[in-house]
């Protein structure tokens, strides 16, 4: 599977009432890449991400994650397969601490099953210790460790973005969908955030991200896909896309 795409979207459709948000959209993401998804507002990018992550059910089409067909699967099963998504507007669990937010995102924590609390107390304890240790590691990576025991609601906008990424990393995903990871983040932090994503990519993860920051898209992505009115209108390396007349007309502007 190393050569084939890690994510393949085939003719996905989704309409909200009369509006076709995603209109027979097809695209592929190669493993180990940082692939950008750009397009004007309302192009259907976030909707497509929500469909891939299982939060919306598509009206038609297929989605393949590696060898597994994932369209129609509930979100929690897609996460278990190794595909996670962050939100454009941070969905931090406000009244839980940062550390709790992360520990929750870990996979296979025995104590999250009610019966295990009573029949496998040893395993519950072991898993909880493992998950907390992993959460601390991830927080060190994203430089949030000093805020571990603060309520997530008390974080700044940029820190919440970091929390989103940290949570996504907790489940040890192979593909991460990032919905505008640097929107509202200051330039210095944007740089370090993208450095981190670059390092994680070198560890074998794939990133598929929506972004309006053209610096990020042009300098950090190795492949860019352009959506307009629910469809893919162009794709290619950043330089090619930048020069594409259709892209300039619909999105970048003359």
């Amino acid at each position: 599977m190393a050569s084939g795409p890690i994510l393949q979207v085939n003719g996905i459709e989704k309409a909200f009432g009369g509006i076709r948000a995603v209109d027979r959209c097809s695209l592929a993401v190669l493993p180990g890449s940082i692939t950008g998804l750009i397009g004007p507002n309302g192009a259907g990018k976030s909707t497509l991400f929500n469909i891939i992550a299982g939060l919306y059910r598509p009206d038609g089409g297929e989605i393949w994650f590696g060898d597994a067909r994932i369209d129609g699967l509930p979100p929690y099963e897609i996460v278990r397969l190794g595909l996670t998504k962050t939100w454009q507007i941070p969905h931090e669990l406000r009244n839980l601490t940062v550390l709790e937010n992360l520990v929750l995102a870990a996979k296979d924590n025995a104590g999250e099953h009610l019966l295990n609390l009573f029949v496998k107390p040893g395993e519950v304890k072991r898993d909880e210790i493992r998950c907390r240790a992993r959460a601390r590691e991830v927080l060190k990576l994203t430089q949030l460790e000093g805020l571990a025991n603060e309520h997530a609601r008390s974080l700044s906008g940029g820190q919440k973005k970091l929390l989103e990424l940290s949570r996504a990393l907790m489940s040890d995903p192979t593909l991460v969908l990032l919905d505008e990871p640097v929107a509202g983040v200051n330039p210095a932090l944007t740089g370090s955030l993208m450095d981190l994503i670059e390092r994680l990519r070198q560890n074998g993860r794939t990133f598929f991200l929506i972004e309006h920051d053209m610096n990020v898209v042009m300098n950090r992505c190795d492949w860019v896909i352009v959506m307009h009115q629910g469809r893919r209108i162009a794709e290619g390396p950043p330089e090619t896309v930048k020069a594409d007349p259709a892209v300039i007309e619909s999105y970048l502007g003359g």
Partner: protein, 447 residues
């Protein structure tokens, strides 16, 4: 990675905080018990009588505490709004009553049916009745939740509200099962005392059994709700969609929390049946029970078990106290009427003087004090609330004075119902100044 500045944390020394919530909670319960004792002493009751009465307070408060714990698991932890608490409570009470009561056939006197009888009367031990009650209510909760939890939150509230109303109608009309409007009587006490001080000993056993069960379930719930499982529940309360995207099958968790909460309400129903010795479909299972439990959890503090228990003891305390006091307040008012009237007149004159000062003459004789008063009123919410509260109290004071003079019996009848207004005012004040409840949810600091 550079630019860690935005994630910089200042290490502040922890500020020692006074546990105001705990202090207020302790004083409130102590005040209720103290007022109850004083009312008993004023009425010339014996020590044993006062204790029996306090025992009644404790045993009903324990029942409400179990209800509140169940609702707190559903709403406080998981965010599921149950508007049919009374229904699950009713199921528990009837199932327990049918299980532990002796057979009671229909009674016909002179060809006229007096009592329709009720299902069974299986004379099972109390423990079996309690377990059956919990199982029945828990299973019903699961069955209702199965379709309703897939819908938006509002629909769960509507479905449970309708369910509770239907159950009350069933209990009233399904005569051969429930005993109809008369209900089920002769529910055996845990121990049958025959001596003269049986009421006291009964209260003692009920409070003993109730406290033991409450303690057991506090420990169990604390263990479950503060576990990784409970953490998922709290995550669902915060944001179900995000929790799903974190890999949790949120529906299963909601179902578990709702069913377990329902089982606790069934347990409360069983305790109620044993405590009172009879049940009927009237007021004991009316929607007002549901509303009381909401208020208990909101006032006490949701998302933590201490808050739910305190709320139950506090709000039921008001109810109990209003019954204790309603016989004494009219006479106390009658005796104190001249004093109250002069107090009201004096306060009115003082307020008028203050008003004239602020509006007209203050500017010339003491401008600094006048401006300080005006600023306080303009900038401080408590000052405005205090003014409104003072006006309301003042008006009520005059209403009482006139009622006492012209319709003295009305006061005795009103006191009992005024508690609802009192609880309502308390709720409003709390939601403005401490929306998280008296005992707020604590931060879970993980090592």
């Amino acid at each position: 990675m550079t630019g860690g500045a935005s994630t910089h944390v200042s290490k502040q020394a922890p500020v020692p905080t006074v546990p105001w919530g705990g202090i207020v909670a302790f004083l409130a319960i102590a005040g209720i018990v103290g007022a109850g004792v004083i009312a008993g002493l004023l009425a010339g009751a014996s020590t044993q009588g006062i204790l029996t009465n306090l025992g009644f307070y404790a045993s009903i408060a324990i029942i409400f505490a179990v209800l509140a714990l169940g609702f707190n698991l559903q709403w406080g932890y998981t965010g599921l709004f149950n508007a049919g608490i009374a229904g699950f409570y009713l199921i528990g009470a009837y199932v327990a009553a049918i299980a532990i009561t002796a057979p009671s056939p229909p009674i016909v006197v002179g060809g006229i049916p007096v009592y329709p009888g009720h299902l069974g009367g299986y004379s099972l031990p109390l423990a079996a009745g309690i377990i059956l009650a919990m199982f029945a209510s828990g299973a019903t909760a699961a069955i209702i939740a199965l379709p309703a939890l897939r819908l938006r939150a509002d629909y769960l509230a509507i479905a449970t509200l309708a369910f509770a109303s239907i159950l009350q109608i069933f209990a009233n009309n399904l005569q051969s099962v429930t005993g109809g409007a008369i209900g089920i009587t002769g529910i055996p006490k845990p121990i049958a005392f025959t001596t003269a001080d049986a009421p006291f000993l009964n209260a003692l056993t009920i409070v003993g059994i109730g406290s033991a069960i409450l303690l057991l379930f506090i420990l169990l719930l604390q263990f479950m709700a503060e576990s990784p499982w409970g953490r998922v529940l709290r995550a669902i309360r915060e944001d179900e969609e995000a929790t799903m995207a974190l890999g949790k099958n949120t529906f299963n968790y909601k179902l578990q929390a709702f069913a377990l909460g329902g089982a606790l309400m069934g347990l409360a129903g069983a305790l109620f049946a044993v405590t009172l010795g009879y049940i009927s479909p009237s007021s004991s299972f009316a929607p007002s029970v549901t509303f009381s439990v909401w208020v208990m959890v909101i006032v006490g503090g949701s998302g933590n078990n201490r808050g739910a228990i305190f709320g139950a003891f506090l709000i039921y305390g008001f109810e109990w106290l209003s019954v204790q006091l309603k016989d004494y307040i009219p006479s106390a008012l009658a005796e104190g009427l001249p004093g109250i009237r002069s107090l009201l007149i004096a306060t009115g004159v003082a307020a008028a003087v203050l008003l004239v000062f602020v509006l007209f003459v203050g500017r010339f004789i003491w401008p600094s004090a006048r401006s300080r008063i005006l600023t306080t009123v303009r900038e401080r919410a408590w000052a405005r609330s205090a003014i409104v509260a003072a006006f309301v109290l003042y008006g009520l004071g005059w209403v009482f004075v006139f009622l006492q003079q012209y319709a003295p019996r009305a006061i005795g009848d009103t006191i009992f119902y005024l508690r609802l207004m009192f609880i309502g005012v308390l709720l409003i004040i709390l939601i403005i100044y401490r929306p998280e409840g008296v005992l707020r949810e604590h931060k879970r600091v993980l090592r």
